[in-house]
Amino acid sequence: MPTDVSSVDLDLALVTEALIASQDQLAALRALIGVPIDSLDDNTALESMLHEALELTDSHCAVLVRGDVVMEVGGGQQLFELRRLLTCGIGLSRTEPHPVELPVGSAVVASLGDGGSQGCLGFARRTDTRYRTGDLHLIDTVVAAINKLTSLTDLHRRGVRRAAIDHEHQLASTLAQAILPTAPPALDGVDVFARSIPASLAGGDFIVFEVLDGILWFAVGDVAGKGLPAAIVMTRAVSAARVAFHTHAEDQPAAALGAVGDELFDYLSGVGLFVTMAVGSYRPGSGVVHLANAGHSPVLSVADGRACVVPASMPPIGVVRAMRGRTQQIRLGPNDLLVIGSDGLAEQEDIHAVMYGYDRLLRRVEQRAHLTVNEFGDGLMNDVQDHAGDQPASDDRTLVVLGESRVAP
């Protein structure tokens, strides 16, 4: 049977036209996927996507509604009609892309996000050329791309917010810890070791020193709790201690401690925390440390190579209003030491969850009593760390050691 050449040519032209259209769609799909999404300005990215989607779906206009935001690309009467449908929620009975009626032309609408939680989208053509199944699949692809963009932008924003909060946390921790002394005071006649290591960025342990008229005032304390909340309370305790040093005589640490308690009671009671604290004063050469202890441990007096616990004479600050303790006089002669730590030393656990313990602490203190203050302090802190091994710090670790200056041999 002879072949009709003109019919073959027509078929060929139709196939070629369809192939070109298919290639154009493929290019448009690539462009849609390639829309940059590395910016927080998702509206710009969305608008770019809508433009690409117009070409992809052979549409003349598109409208996206998300909350109060209405985004439009293209033009024509259909744009007005489509916007009206989407802003009024008309024709959105189904979430997947589906045709809707327009007075003139044809349109498809779809919901964005789960059950339309992220808005709705519509495309329209000026002509009555209906959107076919293939067009609906393409629009479904556009919907998926927009949903992905929304999710990624949301994740990005949350990540940025989290990073900002982490940064502020870090800054607040740094500010809180900055109130602590960076080095022990230098005062003729007394050697001082002081070190405080928070378990995290910031902690509730604190050390305060002041040299006033040749007298060394000191306070070592621990706020109940951990981390930044304890550190914030700690800064109040440090400030109160400094004021108390300036307003009390050297033999009145108990009164100074009471003043700190009066200053902080309502604040601590309100936040449900307490502070253990040992406050003391030492005049070099006097051979005596005046000390008051409000629930703090360990506080050890080391004399003749033997360590004795200096007991608390009152509960921690913030527990009982207007509580008063008593001032104790601790001997600090040649070769004697006053050791004040925090519970993070004895409570440090090793890999087997065995604590360093107060008994071991006492033994190590007595074993090291002959060393210089710095050798003693370094050695004890290292011993606790050796016990911990790779285990994280159980709590903040603080150690202050006072000793009469020893004449070099």
Binding site: A224, G272, L273, F274, A294, G295, P315, P316, V319, E347
Partner: protein, 121 residues
């Protein structure tokens, strides 16, 4: 930490076993707070099996005591284990808490910290 709550006519007690530290505060609070529903309630906290308390746990016990006393009741620490007793003495908090030894559990429903009955006597 294991938490057992026992309730009876006019008697409420919580038995703690294990480490009582900052990580156990929420569980303890869930067990304790419902016991203060009526004014004048005395809650006994049995610490015989507590092997460790930290400052957060002590602060929580103080908070519980304050809450109980504000509703005309009290918190009583019962059967202090050695670790608990030592910490209370070191911190001079033994003079702040009401303590008892040798108190027996009242008859009543025993429930775990999530409220599920464990046994009924």
């Amino acid at each position: 930490m294991r938490i057992r709550t026992e309730t009876g006519a006019g008697h409420h007690s919580i038995s703690l076993a294990g480490r009582f530290d900052a990580h156990e505060i929420d569980g303890y609070r869930m067990a304790f707070e419902p016991l203060l529903s009526e004014p004048g309630t005395v809650v006994r906290v049995d610490l015989a099996s507590v092997v460790f308390v930290d400052s957060s746990a002590l602060a929580e016990l103080l908070r519980s005591q304050r809450a109980a006393r504000e509703s005309d009741g009290d918190l009583v620490l019962v059967n202090l284990s050695d670790p608990v007793r030592i910490i209370l003495e070191l911190t001079a908090l033994e003079q702040v808490f009401t303590t008892e030894t040798g108190a027996s559990a009242p008859v009543g429903v025993v429930a775990d910290s999530s409220g599920r009955p464990v046994e009924t006597r």
